[in-house]
């Protein structure tokens, strides 16, 4: 935790410097009042689909290509053009090249966490963990997931509908990655979690389906009888906690009974052709489920790309220490290329893209130099939190906007460095939640939900 304090001070120093920069800008005649002016809270986004790319995708081999860098940096892949002039991407995302112009990109995201769990927690909450620890422990001292904060400050009105849903895995690296639950906000704000594969033919929710010996009618009978018995203890029944229990019981029953919720989870309602277009993979059908949930009103949907970081050998996430180019070309990029563009098209076709912010990001990028680590197989890239790219589309974002840039090898931010704290502030801001909103931790300390500044330039 001591490191936490160093971080704390360091960030404070950093801002003092940043403050001077702002002062200079004013001095040079840039519009200071505008810089200092209140950023009006956007309210365009009603939903967020957070596509979390566990393992840490290579920024250089995807969206921030460096074709002019020496081969040991630029890697094997060639850039291709997108529909936005001057914006390129890897040749292995051909379908993506047709939708990339709808995305805004932040190419200068950076932090200092080199381990998956610490960096993952940072990417899932927008708060730097106290230590960079490979097995960062998930305690109530850590911050809540984005979806939990959003459930608290911009909940869904419909009682049958959860405000925040996450699936299809709990992400872990040895131990469960912190930042996937409500932490000190309280269990009531935990995202509704589904640990099952939406691409499986038997996909359904046990919570939402009753066993055959307990049909809804029998449950209704039981509830009616319970109501009679409870009513005889009127004073107990009116206590605040009793009302809380009743509220959640009613919600649970509403969810069991509501065709809307069942419907949202029922992927068989989708045309086979569209399901094919998303890809009949866990990721593909998860993104389709995300769209269905957003369509039914869910506020914040988190889709985890993989349950494990992967190792470059055909399973799991983006952690391509070995076999980087083959694994990207054969597996990770094709799956992405199949699914994400379909999601964007589908949202757009239904008029949902304007009100849905889609975020695509991992916990860090990957080393500019290929094979820098002799203990791996010389075709890998390692962890690189010093600079990576985050993509956003919809929700009022300016299509084609590029914020920040990396240096000539993708090693460090060259302009407009952005921290995950700023990404968090941007998410909340886009949803109309003031990033300075305070929450109280278990010790009663007031803490802002985001410690950064929203990148308002990205929004039109």
């Amino acid at each position: 935790m001591t490191q936490g304090c160093n971080e704390f001070r360091e960030s404070a120093r950093f801002t003092r410097r940043a403050m001077l920069t702002v002062g200079t800008a004013g001095f040079l005649g840039l519009s200071l009042p505008r810089l200092l002016a209140a950023a009006p809270i956007a309210r365009k986004a009603k939903h967020v689909i957070f596509l979390h790319q566990w393992g840490g995708p290579s920024h250089i081999d995807t969206f921030d290509m460096k074709p002019d860098a020496p081969e040991v940096y630029r890697g094997e892949f060639k850039p291709i053009a997108s529909q936005a002039p001057g914006i390129t991407l890897t040749e292995h995302l051909p379908r993506f090249s047709k939708v990339l112009h709808k995305f805004a990109q932040v190419r200068s995201v950076h932090h200092k966490m080199k381990n998956h769990n610490s960096a993952g927690y940072y990417s899932l909450t927008g708060h730097a963990p106290p230590i960079d620890d490979q097995r960062l422990r998930d305690t109530l001292e850590l911050y809540p997931a984005y979806g939990s904060v959003v459930s608290k400050f911009r909940p869904v009105d419909d009682p049958a509908l959860p405000s925040s849903v996450s699936f299809p895995y709990i992400v872990r690296d040895g131990s469960a990655t912190p930042g996937q639950g409500a932490s000190f906000l309280g269990k009531g704000f935990d995202p509704f979690f589904i640990g099952r594969d939406p691409s499986s033919s038997s996909f359904s929710l046990p919570e939402l389906s009753l066993p055959s010996q307990l049909p809804l009618e029998r449950l209704d009978d039981r509830k009616a009888l319970l109501g009679k018995i409870d009513a005889q203890q009127a004073s107990l029944h009116s206590a605040a906690i009793a009302r809380g229990i009743d509220k959640f019981n009613d919600r649970a029953l509403a969810m069991l009974a509501s065709p809307k919720v069942k419907n949202a989870f029922d992927l068989s309602k989708e045309p086979a052709k569209l399901r094919d277009e998303y890809g009949r993979t866990t990721y593909g059908q998860s993104c389709l489920l995300a769209r269905r949930l957003v369509e039914s009103g869910v506020r914040f949907v988190t889709v985890y790309f993989a349950s494990t970081i992967g190792q470059g050998f055909g399973t799991g996430g983006w952690d391509t220490h070995n076999n980087n180019f083959n694994d990207l070309r054969d597996r990770l990029l094709p799956s992405t290329d199949q699914t994400v563009p379909t999601l964007i098209h589908d949202l757009e076709a239904r008029g949902l893209l304007d009100e849905t912010l889609v975020v695509w990001m991992g916990e860090f990028g990957r080393t500019p130099r290929v094979g820098a680590n002799p203990s791996n197989d010389r075709t890998g890239r390692d962890h690189w939190p010093n600079c990576y790219t985050v993509l956003m589309a919809g929700g009022g974002i300016t299509p084609g906007a590029i914020h920040g840039s990396s240096d000539r090898i993708g090693g460090l931010p060259a302009t407009d460095p952005v921290r995950p704290d700023d990404i968090a502030a941007t998410l909340y801001w886009a949803l109309g939640i003031d990033p300075n909103t305070e929450v109280f931790d278990t010790l009663g300390r007031p803490l802002p939900i985001a410690a950064g500044t929203p990148i308002t330039r990205l929004f039109g």
Partner: protein, 828 residues
């Protein structure tokens, strides 16, 4: 004398308000007691210099002993022009004079002597005494504004004005000094922004013509200097009144705040002080120190001025004309304290709980186990007038008592398998249980833990240092567990609303700095996991204790929190010293323990949260805490006698049904708390009630959930109902929140379903025995709700069973219903 338009408007408004107030209060309390006298604070006034002023606080004292703040209702005047009075009771001087002002209330007039000196000598406002305070008062340095670690809009101030020197640089130097305009002070950003002349994200903090703006303007006009060298230090901050119960219909209280400085000057700083309230929705405090509460109730106002703090504890009473005070019992010090407070607040306590409710509550609160149907029948049919006391004496010696209280300690001392190892967790659990069973004095218990060294397997209390691995965490845990204070804030900065400084924090941490660990037989499953330890750990000392305070760079000797001096560092073992200091004649240790035991039985601490003792979070009933503490100390700091003492009080035995006067009482113990049972207790109650033990992995067969060592065994039920992960040293980690997941768990979760459906559960055995429907019902209700069914319950439940196509399934429905009643789920 000039009167600005603003003042006259304010006066008219005040007059109107006063008039309305008088009319309405006249209508409501015609039978108000007669006025006896009026108390005026201060009783004489000395004014020094042109800017000096005094806030009067005027209190009406009635013949029945009740009091009420009338500062805004009284009228103030001066018969000559030397003194100036406002309708709000603020007195200032225009010229030097020894004279008086008059306070009028109703038809009575009171004289207050005033002496003014050097009334024509004006000193400009100073940075340290005025500007720094103002930045806090206007909220500029709050965490949401410029006090944020990133600042706001380019300006970053220290959180709540903790570092005036850094703030001075930020205000006068940063951004090329453009915040201050010495040649045209009024054009300074520092004034233009908060007054709204230039767009300001934080809005208008004060008006252009406000006293705040005047302070800033004058400070800048006089050169915007830091006057640290010439300004006397604040030595004491006082608020008046420190404690007052205002009779109805009063819902306001004027505060006055005075600061004493190292040069022995005293200054009224009411308008410069910042006020924080415990419930900002119900209570507000104006810039001038007028506390207003929306409805009757209690309020603690924390006052800050520079580095000084003071608190005012206020209550505004309901108008309960027919209130009859209960006689205050003198045979039990808990009841004496509780009932006296309730009388003062005009709150009538609930009626005592019935025998059945008491039996159930006593069992679940003290041993975490439901009474069996046999125990219930025996107790309810017993006509011994002392049967409750005898029950309590039986409960505290039962083996389950030790299990249950060991569980509470296992939470706080973080007994979980990853760090303790499976074996270590059982060893530590058994040690905790043995301590509880033997009723080892808690000071001895704490001493064993804090001074523990050696093998954690052979000397289990040393496990404390197995989980608390770095000196800071150990210091925080010892502070939180054994003293009930939270010092975590002081790790990075001086605590913003408590006394703890970084020196205190690192002085405390220094005790643990030379603790060293050697791990034997490590068989961890995950070599990358620093938190996993699966062998034995030898705790030993290496070198000398001492710790560097990171901000000052100074080497701190071990010094306990709040102690006057530090230990000598040449003694390598500071832990024994700390343990001795902690447990010998340390009033805070005993207060904390007594408060925690009360919390576990009653559901709420006298100080709440229990680990947050600080001046600004006072006990809701100080006499009650004193009573508990002295009883605890009198019995040699043992757990069982205090548990029995609390449970034998009338207060503990009150019912949970509230009346009109105590329905909204949360902190005065006028009724029993209704809350969700702890996860383990609830699961055990289901198991015992249905006679279907839960089977836990890695635990003996038929173990109850309250007997488990760590956190890893057990189904999702325990997690869902709030069993903590034991990663924090905080009672707060155990969640008592209701959630959607709990609803699904109770509706159709595997734990509930399997127990209801099991063939050989209580239902199955009763049916197999050929019991009649009436007999089954009696047995089920008695087993689950600890009472007999009422006539209408019998009718409803039997009707359901009889109309069911399958008798067994009908009974399953009944069992489900009983498990889901609030009566079963909730402690009441």
């Amino acid at each position: 004398m000039l009167i600005s338009p603003r003042t006259s408007v304010a006066r008219i408004v005040a007059a109107l308000l006063c008039w309305f107030g008088c009319v309405s209060s006249f209508a409501r309390v015609q039978a108000a007691p007669a006025l006896k006298t009026v108390r005026i604070e201060p009783s004489n006034i000395k004014l020094e210099g042109a800017a000096d002023h005094r806030q009067l606080v005027v209190t009406a004292v009635y013949v029945d002993g009740s009091v009420r703040d009338i500062t805004r209702e009284a009228k103030y005047f001066s018969i000559d022009a030397c003194f100036h009075t406002t309708g709000f009771g603020v007195i200032s001087a225009v010229a030097d004079k020894v004279g008086s002002i008059y306070v009028m209330f109703g038809d009575k007039r009171f004289e207050v002597p005033v002496e003014s000196r050097r009334a024509s000598e004006w000193t400009p406002p100073g940075y340290r005494r005025d500007v720094v305070a103002l930045l806090s008062k206007a909220g500029c340095n709050m965490g949401t504004c410029h006090g944020n670690i990133n600042g706001k809009g380019g300006l970053r101030l220290s959180l709540r004005g903790d570092d005036p020197s850094a703030d001075f640089l930020a205000l006068t130097r940063d951004s090329f000094g453009r915040r201050i305009n010495l040649t045209n002070a009024g054009a300074s950003l520092l004034i233009a922004k908060p007054t709204g002349k230039i767009e300001h994200e934080g809005g208008v903090r004060f008006g252009v013509h406000s006293p705040e703006a005047a302070i800033l303007l004058n400070w800048i006009m006089y050169g915007a200097k830091d006057d640290e060298a010439t300004t006397p230090r604040l030595t004491r901050l006082r608020v008046y009144p420190e404690r007052q119960l205002n009779a109805a219909p009063g819902l306001t209280q004027q505060l006055s705040v005075t600061a004493e400085f190292s040069d022995h000057t005293v200054r009224d700083v009411t308008t410069l002080a910042s006020f924080d309230v415990d419930d900002p929705i119900k209570v507000s405090v104006s810039a001038g120190g007028l506390v207003s509460r929306k409805s009757a109730g209690e309020t603690t106002v924390s006052v800050r001025y520079l580095n000084g703090r003071a608190i005012s504890r206020l209550a505004f009473l309901h108008d309960r004309a027919g209130f009859v005070a209960r006689s205050v019992p003198n045979d039990n010090s808990i009841d004496a304290a509780v009932f006296a407070k309730l009388n003062a607040l005009k709150v009538t306590p609930s009626e005592p709980a019935t025998d059945a409710v008491f039996l159930r509550r006593a069992h679940l609160d003290s041993i975490g186990v439901l009474p069996t149907p046999e125990e219930t029948r025996a107790f309810l049919s017993d006509d011994d007038p002392h049967k409750r006391a005898k029950l309590i004496d039986r409960l505290v010696v039962r083996p389950e008592f030790a299990d249950f209280w060991a569980l509470k300690w296992a939470d706080l001392l973080r007994n979980e398998e990853k760090t303790m190892g499976d074996k270590g967790a059982w060893i530590f659990q058994r040690w905790l249980r043995d301590q509880m069973s033997a009723d080892v004095p808690l000071d001895e218990f704490a001493r064993q833990i804090v001074s523990a060294q050696g093998s954690t397997h052979r000397n289990p209390p040393a496990s404390f240092y197995r989980t608390n691995q770095d000196p800071q965490t150990a210091a925080e845990s010892v502070g939180q567990v054994f003293l009930g204070v939270r010092v975590q804030c002081a790790r990075c900065h001086n605590h913003p609303y408590d006394v703890w400084t970084q020196d205190d924090y690192y002085g405390m941490s220094a005790h643990f700095a030379n603790l060293s660990r050697k791990i034997l037989d490590e068989t961890k499953r995950d070599r990358f996991d620093k938190h996993e330890i699966n062998g034995d750990v030898i705790i030993h000392l290496k070198g000398r204790p001492g710790m560097v305070q990171p901000r000052s760079g100074a080497m701190m000797d071990p010094k306990p929190l709040g102690a006057k001096s530090s230990w000598k560092r040449d003694d390598p073992n500071a832990l024994d010293d700390l343990a001795r200091w902690l447990t010998r004649d340390n009033p805070q240790f005993a207060r904390n323990m007594a408060n925690r035991i009360w919390f576990h039985l009653v559901g709420r601490g006298v100080v709440e949260p229990v680990d947050d003792f600080r001046d600004s979070n006072p006990p809701s009933n100080p006499e009650l805490l004193d009573a508990l503490t002295s009883e605890f100390v009198r019995n040699g700091m043992r757990l069982k006698p205090l548990v029995a003492f609390i449970m034998k009080s009338r207060t503990y035995a009150l019912g949970s049904d509230t009346n009109d006067s105590n329905a909204d009482d949360e902190s005065n113990f006028s009724h029993a708390q209704i809350k969700l049972h702890p996860a383990e207790v609830l699961l055990d109650a289901v198991s015992l009630g249905l006679e279907r033990p839960e089977s836990f992995s890695n635990a003996p067969r038929f173990a109850r959930a309250t007997q488990l060592s760590g956190i890893q065994s057990g189904s999702s039920f325990l997690k869902t109902f709030g069993k903590p992960d034991r990663l924090l040293t905080c009672e707060c980690e155990r969640s008592d929140a209701t959630t959607l997941a709990q609803a699904f768990e109770m509706l159709n979760g595997p734990s509930i379903r399997s127990k209801i459906q099991a063939d050989d559960n209580r239902i199955g055995r009763l049916i197999a025995r050929g019991a009649s429907d009436d007999a089954i019902l009696d047995e089920l209700v008695t087993a689950l709700l600890s009472r007999s069914p009422t006539a209408s319950e019998r009718a409803d439940l039997l009707a359901h069973v009889r109309k069911s196509s399958d008798r067994r399934r009908g009974w399953e429905d009944v069992a489900w219903v009983l498990l889901n009643t609030k009566e079963f789920l909730l402690r009441h």
